[in-house]
Subunit: 379 residues, 2 copies
């Protein structure tokens, strides 16, 4: 493995464990990330409705970009002309990019999987494209990603066992090819563990991959329709098999309680469109639970979205006003609720981290549920 | 007229005249306005896509709210619960509100005009409402407007002469009733001069109104479909008949060149949805003319929207990136182009003002057209 390029700008320091929960610090060429961390999703080179400066105001430390989407629009030549994704979108902190695998495999009837890679037609004008492990690394290096993801197959969580096994084996071969395809030594590369909701498959894939020279490891293929207990038991089976000295990233997760529960199971990093997408629809996530700001009950409410939140939206505007903005289809409505939701997620991660560093994560986890007056789910 | 309430918090100081062009200073209970000034339009209690803090970054000094729209949505009880429009929308600088006349008269088949006022059905659910001079003053006082506008009829610019004369006479009676209806002494009230594009009618109405105790005077009923030379000649006939010691406001105008030309004819204040509406559609107004940012020619352009502009959009983003945002229907696209367009308008007013204070408005006006490589229109 001597000829492989290694990332010289990436490191992870595990600062404390409180039970299985971990607090750590990731270094990248574009700055530090304190874990556990939530990564707002910037699919097309923008976290929808937000500016980068706004993201920084609530301590966003890393955002996610989507390789498939950026490859289709605006196209690699445009991003290359800007000198990479960071410069194009005016974001100078870390960016993690997915490999496009998830999106490509979502194009069910428009793609063909072979050992070499996947041929697919895009969702914009149906043009044909080919993604292989080598190709997605090339793309992510052009994007200038701080953390690249390997090209993997994300099979349906209810796929038959023989398909799952075949798919995982091919994904393993693809992951090896990704490692070999790397040319930049300032872009980290994470492996991805698959195995649907089968604990044995997950353990096996984690054990296979742990000897690979990745900078971190992700759990892929969850949050794709399975129920929460299945997600939790799958993660619980997987994390003990993952290297403890590398960051652990649970892809596409999730609701606030999913974050808390998976931190409890040893996960360090999360991303999800939920806070931004739901924010644009007027669904606010608060310390006391979900607030649907469009509801008539808020018509005259002078309360903020979340009385326990100190974000811009909560310190400057009432529920009544924000409801009015939604009823009037004003852009500021989407901005304010996205702002609050993301700020709430980042604050939740900050509080979790503090509690882990101070060995009081169990109490923090309990208080999270107490405030919401919801039962703590079974471990 | 002794029993009339007068505004104690409003004053206007004419600082310099350069030809007919004027530089001045308006004081209101919520701060000063330096004229000539452009007022961004915040129809429903938000300047579309912008926060108040952003507006201040490019020196917005006063915004406009729409009485009709705010009365329908969110409704007066909501605004009253907040303690007025300023507090509801988090804007602590001056607000001018129109009287709703223009909107009500736009509801052609849904309204009935009588001496007492206008009965109309709203555009949301067809509910019946009645606006009278007394009612619109009452509404604007609840809004807490710094500058209220009288209730006037805005007849079509091609209405027959006998209708125009009747309409103007009724508007005059309505304006008198507005003066009498006023109860707050911290909300200024502007009269409105009508008369379509007929210079004699305009002069006559201006002469009638100049003895009324208004805090300022507006020219209404222009920018409603007439050509630019008609607009200019109408303003030119009207401003000499307006009090020189009160602010002059040309309602609903306009393109950058309309602002320059009407400043040259003695106007101090403007409002228009053009910069914000066109910004949301990707039409940018720049020192060198109109830039349609969606055009394919900008696909790889690393230039800012306007190289002569120092706004946030122009100092942080390329045409290429903003074009990508538009093609992808990203909210940030609308934000950045609205931001630039409004910043450009405010900067244009600032530059015009400086040139008037330094008695070089003619040179400024020439340079405005030189940069655009367009012929200076005839006076």
């Amino acid at each position: 493995m001597n000829e492989l390029v290694e990332c010289k700008t990436f490191s992870f320091e595990l600062q404390n464990c409180d039970g299985a929960a971990r607090a750590g610090r990731i270094k990248t060429r574009n700055g530090e990330i304190q874990t556990p961390i939530f990564m707002p999703v910037g699919t097309l080179g923008t976290v929808k409705s937000m500016t980068p400066e706004e993201l920084v105001r609530f301590n966003t430390q890393i955002i996610l970009g989507n390789t498939y989407h950026l490859y289709i629009r605006p196209g690699l030549d445009v991003i290359e002309a800007h000198g990479g994704l960071h410069k194009m979108m005016n974001w100078d902190k870390p960016i993690l990019t997915d490999s496009g695998g998830f999106q490509v495999f979502s194009l069910k009837d428009l793609r063909k999987i072979e050992e070499d890679g996947v041929t697919f037609q895009d969702h914009i004008d149906g043009s044909k494209h080919f993604f292989s492990p080598e190709k997605v690394i090339e793309i992510q290096e052009v994007l200038g990603s701080d953390i690249m993801m390997v090209f993997d197959e994300c099979p349906p969580h209810d796929a038959p066992m023989d398909y799952l096994q075949k798919s995982i084996d091919r994904t393993t071969r693809w992951e090896e090819r990704c490692l070999k395809a790397r040319t930049r030594d300032d872009c980290a590369l994470f492996g991805i563990i698959q195995g649907a909701t089968d604990p044995a498959l997950r353990r096996q894939h984690a054990q296979t991959l742990r000897s690979f020279d990745f900078d971190g490891f992700a759990i892929g293929g969850l949050s794709v329709g399975e129920d929460a207990p299945s997600m939790y038991s799958t993660v619980e089976a997987t994390t003990p098999e993952m290297p403890s000295d590398k960051p652990r990233y649970l892809m596409g997760v999730g609701k606030p309680e999913n974050l808390i529960e998976n931190i409890a199971r040893g996960v360090d990093m999360f991303d999800c469109v939920l806070p931004s997408r739901n924010g644009r629809n007027g669904q606010c996530l608060t310390h006391s639970g979900v607030v649907n700001i469009r509801n008539a009950q808020h018509r005259l409410s002078l309360d903020p979205i979340d009385a326990d939140c100190n974000c811009y939206a909560c310190t400057h505007y009432t529920r009544s006003y924000i409801r009015h903005l939604f009823k009037s289809k004003e852009i500021l409505a989407a901005r304010l609720c996205t702002w609050h939701n993301l700020a709430y997620y980042l604050k939740l991660m900050e509080s979790a981290r503090e509690s882990i560093l101070e060995n009081r994560f169990a109490a923090f986890r309990k208080s999270f549920y107490d405030k919401r007056s919801q039962a703590v789910p079974m471990l």
